[in-house]
């Protein structure tokens, strides 16, 4: 016999899922459709009329060396942010795992940056590294490094990577701590009896056992670096100097709302949409598969 609750009214289930569906439609599906439609249009110089041009906007992007270099820049930026924030988070998590006293307070403090809005995080780092006022600039000057990210493109890139990675450390830290907690303590003890020191234990036992989490975080961090770093870049460098920190998502904004090339910008955002779809599919495929040891 099936034990299932039956509702006599047919509209109730729809009513219950309606808020979620409406939000998704209004804020995600509709704008995405708009962008898709827009990407096939070419606006005239005065914004008075538009023309349906099929894939011309995409072809133009394909031929545009600026777009390609932005692509490479984005890839570099993403992997640098993911690598830096995950590396630091892993280091902190490994230390936090060994803390016994005050572990709760220690963890809470490490989680705070996650609650900071991207623009604020960017501004914070901007102040620290301000070429004329920044305290870090002052220290760097003392050891003979002339810091000016408004002129030096690699310094600018370094700064946005630092700011973006800093904000994501908390998130990664949480996941790494949780993963390490789920490793039975007796495994570590067995390894200790077998003669492995802390570093060796970490390398041969802990790290392999948290690898599913590491992979999950890698995907999440790349998605973060691709899409959620707009605020940081806008606050810190606004894509400059030159185009040196203009990653794809920033270029969408720049070309669309500053350069007013709405069609080209929409085409870029459609490409980004497909990238995030691909990344999400990879992530789900991997997570749904039971990880085998």
């Amino acid at each position: 016999m099936q034990k299932r609750v039956h509702y006599n009214t047919s509209y109730l289930p729809y009513l219950l899922v309606a808020p979620q569906i409406i939000i998704t439609l209004v804020f995600f599906i509709w704008p995405a459709m708009q962008a898709l439609y827009q990407s096939f249009l070419l606006e005239d110089a005065f914004g008075l009329s538009s023309e349906f041009v099929w894939f011309d906007n995409f072809v133009e992007l394909y031929d545009n060396p600026n777009y390609l270099s932005s692509f490479i820049r984005t890839a570099f930026f993403s992997f640098a942010v993911a690598g830096l924030s995950m590396g630091v988070a892993l280091f902190f998590a490994a230390l936090a795992d060994r803390v016994v006293k005050g572990a709760q307070g220690y963890r809470t403090l490490l989680i705070i940056p996650y609650a900071v809005a991207p623009v604020l995080a960017g501004t914070l780092w901007l102040f620290l590294f301000n070429p004329t006022l920044g305290i870090m600039t002052y220290f760097l000057d003392m050891i003979g490094i002339n810091w000016n990210h408004k002129l030096d493109s690699s310094q600018a890139m370094g700064l946005v990577i630092l700011a973006a990675a800093w904000k994501q450390i908390s998130y990664n830290f949480l996941f790494f701590v949780a993963a390490m907690h789920s490793i039975p303590k007796s495994l570590i003890e067995a390894a200790a009896i077998d003669g492995a020191g802390p570093a060796h234990r970490f390398r041969t036992i802990i790290f392999p056992l948290i690898s599913p989490t590491t992979f999950f975080l890698l995907v999440v961090n790349i998605i973060y670096a691709f899409f959620d770093t707009f605020g940081i870049i806008h606050a810190v460098t606004a894509g400059g100097p030159g185009n040196s920190t203009e990653i794809l998502v920033y270029k969408v904004f720049n070309d669309g709302f500053v350069g007013l090339d709405l069609g080209g910008s929409a085409a870029q955002s459609v490409i980004l949409m497909f990238i995030v779809i691909a990344l999400t599919v990879i992530q789900f495929k991997y997570i749904e598969r039971k990880v085998e040891y």
Binding site: P184, S186, L187, E189, A190, A191, A192, I193, D194, G195, A196, H200, T204, I205, P208, L209, E292, Y293
Partner: protein
């Protein structure tokens, strides 16, 4: 060839003391079982010897060398955990070779040692498998293999059989005991199962609330328990404890009288202890009697739970397997007068 000596070993967490000064001297090759109810500190004691818990006070010596401050790896021990603690991402071979690699042994010797131990434990065919593809008993053997392969001075077992089913447990019990005897390695074994403790131990340490209630061979402890706790803990079903009053002529049990064995010198209100197996089944002259409240048949024997007037607890009496007794029947209760134990009501110490 190793001895273990514990002297006034103590353990406290902040202000609560969990181990209250334990002295045990273990000779070479001995199989010592630490047994006690949960929370008695037996695992903590084992982990202190292993070096996984710090020692608050006192000394642990292995081979006359104080090891209090040594790292676990430098104590010459190997441990088998309750959950086996096999490395899930490594094959059986890698699990067993992990410690040997860290000892920096040459590759050929590692291969040879693992092979030898695998043959000894009959796990050669699993060497390339991961622990997740093994049954509970096989994992248990791999965990033992990982301990043996290191050729330790001391084996430490932390309830290694409690995750196995009953039949396998009996089998592994024998195997571990035989293996230990053949290898001659000094062993500390923690369990809460008193049957396991009795069958495996050369000597037992019965722990209660962080104190060694009694140390001795299994039969010493069975025959001559020092206090009520040990008497009740060792033996299955547990010893009957009955409040009684001893006068010059008789022992008064809830109004019924039983002759006083002449060599019992105590008088007054005490606790009488009788094991279920120490009743005589005879028709003549019942000392006291009671009504059968419940019957448990286990095949070879029958346990009668008998209700006597003015006695709160049911008295458990063992009879041979085919005894025809009905519930509600009045049965004579004839304790073997040579097998009576008396305990002080307050201190629970053995009086006689």
């Amino acid at each position: 060839m190793s001895t273990i000596n514990m002297q006034q070993l103590k353990k406290s967490y902040e202000d609560t003391q969990v181990i209250h000064g334990i002295d045990i001297d273990i000779v070479d090759g001995e199989f010592i079982v630490l047994v006690g109810p949960s929370g008695c500190g037996k695992s903590t004691l084992l982990r202190m010897v292993a070096g996984l818990e710090s020692i608050s006070d006192g000394e642990v010596k292995i081979d006359d060398k104080v090891v209090n401050k040594l790292e676990p790896k430098d104590r010459g021990i190997a441990m088998v955990f309750q959950n086996y603690a096999l490395y899930p991402h490594m094959t059986v071979y890698q699990n067993m070779a992990y410690g040997l690699k860290l000892m920096k042994l040459p590759k050929e010797e590692i291969v040879q040692r693992v092979q030898e131990v695998a043959e000894l434990l009959q796990i050669e065919q699993f060497l390339e498998r991961r622990p997740s593809n093994l049954s509970g008993g096989q994992r248990q053997r791999v965990a033992m293999g990982r301990a043996i392969v290191r050729k330790p001075k001391v084996f430490l077992f932390d309830e290694p059989l409690s995750n196995l089913d009953a039949k396998l447990r009996v089998q592994m019990r024998m195997q571990i005991k035989t293996l230990q005897r053949n290898l001659g390695v000094t062993t500390l074994y923690v369990t809460h199962d008193q049957v396991e403790a009795m069958t495996m131990a050369d000597r037992l340490v019965v722990l209660k609330d962080g104190i060694a209630a009694q140390i001795g061979t299994p039969m010493e402890i069975y025959d001559d328990p020092h206090n009520q706790f040990v008497a009740g803990f060792i033996g299955s079903p547990a010893m009957n404890f009955i409040d009684c009053t001893i006068s010059d002529e008789v022992i008064d049990i809830g109004g019924q009288k039983m002759p006083r064995p002449t060599d019992v010198t105590q008088r007054g209100s005490v606790v009488l202890g009788i094991r279920p197996e120490h009743f005589i089944n005879t028709a003549d002259q019942p000392a006291i009697q009671g009504q059968v409240d419940m019957i448990e048949k286990v095949g070879a024997s029958v346990f009668l739970y008998v209700k006597c007037d003015h006695i709160e607890e049911l008295i458990v009496i063992q009879r041979e397997g085919h005894s025809q007794v009905q519930i509600g029947e009045l049965v004579p209760i004839n304790p073997n007068l040579n097998k009576l134990y008396f305990f002080d009501k307050n201190t629970q110490q053995r009086l006689y």
